[in-house]
């Protein structure tokens, strides 16, 4: 998917994360801050990268502010932000690109 317009999903509450996607400069640029970066930084990066990969997003600026979200929440917020940037709210590929 292309990132058509800037979009945000998630909150800064504990156990959540806020994901912002913006049109990129030819690749994925990830800016990650996390309250658990020392323990889970690599794992969080991996989950974000895999989620973007499934959604075939290859060109985006992605900003994630994490407050100790579990992997399932990180995926959900990335997906919500990407689909929002495309204005898609129906016929989501559950179990396909979303899994």
């Amino acid at each position: 998917m292309e990132i058509l317009k800037p979009a945000v999903a998630g909150t800064l509450e504990s156990s959540d994360c806020m994901v912002t996607v913006e049109p990129g400069a030819g690749q994925i640029d990830l800016d990650l801050t996390s309250s658990v970066i020392r323990q889970f930084g690599p794992q969080i990066r991996k989950v974000i990268a895999e989620t973007l990969d499934r959604l075939e997003v290859t060109d985006a600026r992605v900003t994630v502010v994490d407050k100790g979200a579990l992997d399932c929440t990180i995926k959900a917020r990335v997906e919500a932000a990407v689909f929002r940037s495309n204005g898609i709210k129906q016929n989501i590929p559950w179990g396909g690109a979303i899994k």
Binding site: S14, S15, S35, V36, R38, Q39, F40, G41, P42, Q43, K67, G68, A69, L70, D71
Partner: protein, 515 residues
């Protein structure tokens, strides 16, 4: 060298501190020592005045100098103004290489960070540090090692002369001009002055700082004029509402209530729960809720407590008012109710030494049946960490944790399985403060684990069938299944602090955080 809790204590640290690695709780049992005594300057002249006009004069009279050690108590907690006030004056005088030996340091002392950076303060000894000072130490800004020691361990370090205090500053809610000090009767009351007794006994100079001068004699004195050199009156020693907060409202968080219920069930179904039992608990929501539900069962079964000890809160004082405990032994008052309850004749003040000093001929903690504690982390060896956050930054204090855990017959640690994404039950704690051999039962929201070295307690709880029993490894696995396995925090090579065991040996080291 690997110590008894499996922690590597580098030789250079052993050499630098002259200390031994931790070798088990009973290593120093019965080992004789001579108690340290300070130099005293007698006062016989009946016209001698102890009043000084300001802190500067006190410092001058006490011969403040580069490299000296100054001490403070933390009875004013986050409402403390005394430490900053004195350190500012020391800073203004341009003194360097000061050792700050406080009973504990908190966020109220954030303003001291620049003094750490400019070399005014080069050593810190405390139960622990919260806030910006903790961050500064973890980032390697303190020149020398920070020493974190328990309340009992601090008394030991003073009475053995390991720590020699040049000037002790005792913030006193009330004082007379001759240095009789009390924790009550003033504008900023803290109830008791338990932590400062040892300073009165062991410091070379003792300066009382008060904002409420009362007529002589300020009696009964909590700390006697016989120990005090000077009295300094200032505008305010603290901020009352931050010293003793209103009693915490009982928690409505079901998770805490569940842990409290498990804890209460553990207490009432283990063999020490009988008339005359002894008990200490903390100030966390679950601890307080547990005291409240325990009270109900005590009333139902007609069981009374022999003594309650430690930092006290309203629910413990309520026990006294209901006649459900014979005596309360108070080392610090956490809320306004506890501060005023000190006036009850069965509510006794005790010194931090009587409470927890392992080098006494016996301390109150040795007589505890139950202690209820909290912990930042507990590992599968039952080691607890209450000082260093899971992110590697110093953020807490030992307090009486290792003292009571060792002393009590049944040590219960309440700890939610997860703190956000951080598993609190883990394979190895970041830093060991209390050894697993002292910890008997861990209560989490996911179940209760009993230390395998206490088959008697396990059997009692299995028989009672009152809580979901799990092994500590099961709890750890459950936590990791939810969060993923955390990476160990990466530290730099430099050691910035040590966690001292009660007996003065080294429990663990704290390394500089890597950015």
């Amino acid at each position: 060298m690997i110590n008894a809790v499996g922690r590597e204590i580098p030789d250079e640290i052993l050499k630098l501190t002259g200390k031994e690695p931790f070798q088990g709780n009973h290593y120093k049992e019965g080992v004789p020592f001579r108690r340290y005594a300070p130099i005293i300057r007698p006062v016989m002249n009946n016209e001698h005045s102890k009043l000084v006009k300001d802190i500067h004069e006190a410092l001058v009279r006490c011969k403040a100098h580069n490299g000296m050690t100054v001490s403070f108590h933390h009875h004013f907690r986050e409402g403390d103004l005394v430490v900053n006030m004195v350190m500012e004056e020391i800073h203004k005088m341009g003194l360097k290489n000061i050792t700050l030996a406080a009973t504990s340091l908190g966020k109220a002392h954030d303003p001291l960070v620049p003094m750490i950076e400019d070399g005014t303060i080069t050593s810190i000894q405390a139960s622990g540090v919260r806030g910006k000072i903790g961050e500064a130490i973890s980032h390697g800004k303190l020149k020398n090692l920070a020493i974190m020691r328990s309340h009992g361990g601090r008394v030991r370090s003073l009475v053995t002369g390991e720590t020699k205090v040049d000037i002790a500053f005792i913030g006193a809610p009330t004082a007379d001009e001759y240095g009789n000090l009390r924790g009550v009767g003033g504008k900023n009351n803290c109830g008791v002055l338990s932590f400062s007794h040892v300073d009165g006994d062991c410091a070379e100079y003792v300066v009382a700082i008060t904002d409420t001068l009362v007529p002589f004699p300020n009696f009964p004195a909590h700390i006697s004029m016989t120990k005090v050199d000077y009295v300094c009156v200032v505008d305010a020693i603290g901020i009352a509402e931050k010293i003793a907060t209103g009693a915490a409202k009982p928690t409505t968080d079901q998770r805490k209530l569940m842990m409290a219920e498990y804890c209460t069930q553990v207490v009432v179904n283990t063999p020490y729960f009988k008339d005359g039992f002894s008990y200490q608990t903390g100030v966390g929501g679950a601890s307080i809720a547990s005291t409240i539900s325990l009270t109900k069962i005590m009333e139902e079964r007609g069981i009374k407590m022999g003594f309650g000890v430690g930092g006290l809160t309203k629910p413990m004082c309520d026990l006294l008012d209901k006649g459900l405990v014979r005596v309360l032994l108070d080392t610090q008052a956490f809320d306004v109710d506890a501060v005023t309850n000190v006036l009850n004749p069965a509510h006794h003040r005790i010194t931090a030494g009587a409470y927890a000093n392992p080098f006494n001929k016996g301390a109150f903690v040795n007589k505890l049946d139950y202690v209820i504690l909290a912990s930042l982390e507990v590992d599968v060896h039952f080691n607890c960490n209450v000082v260093v956050g899971s992110d590697g930054i110093i953020t807490g204090a030992q307090g009486g944790h290792p003292d009571t855990a060792q002393g009590a017959k049944c040590t219960i640690v309440i700890c939610p399985l997860l703190q956000g994404r951080i598993p609190a039950i883990c394979s190895e704690v970041t830093t060991v403060t209390t050894p697993g051999e002292s910890v008997d039962i861990v209560v989490t929201d996911y179940g209760v684990a009993v230390n395998p070295n206490r088959p008697d307690l396990l059997e009692a709880l299995e028989k009672a069938d009152c809580v979901p029993l799990k092994t500590i490894e099961q709890l750890r696995d459950e936590a990791y299944a939810i969060t993923g396995v955390p990476n160990p925090v990466e530290f730099g090579d430099r050691i910035v602090g040590i966690i001292e065991a009660r007996d003065g040996t080294i429990m663990d080291v704290v390394r500089e955080i890597k950015d």
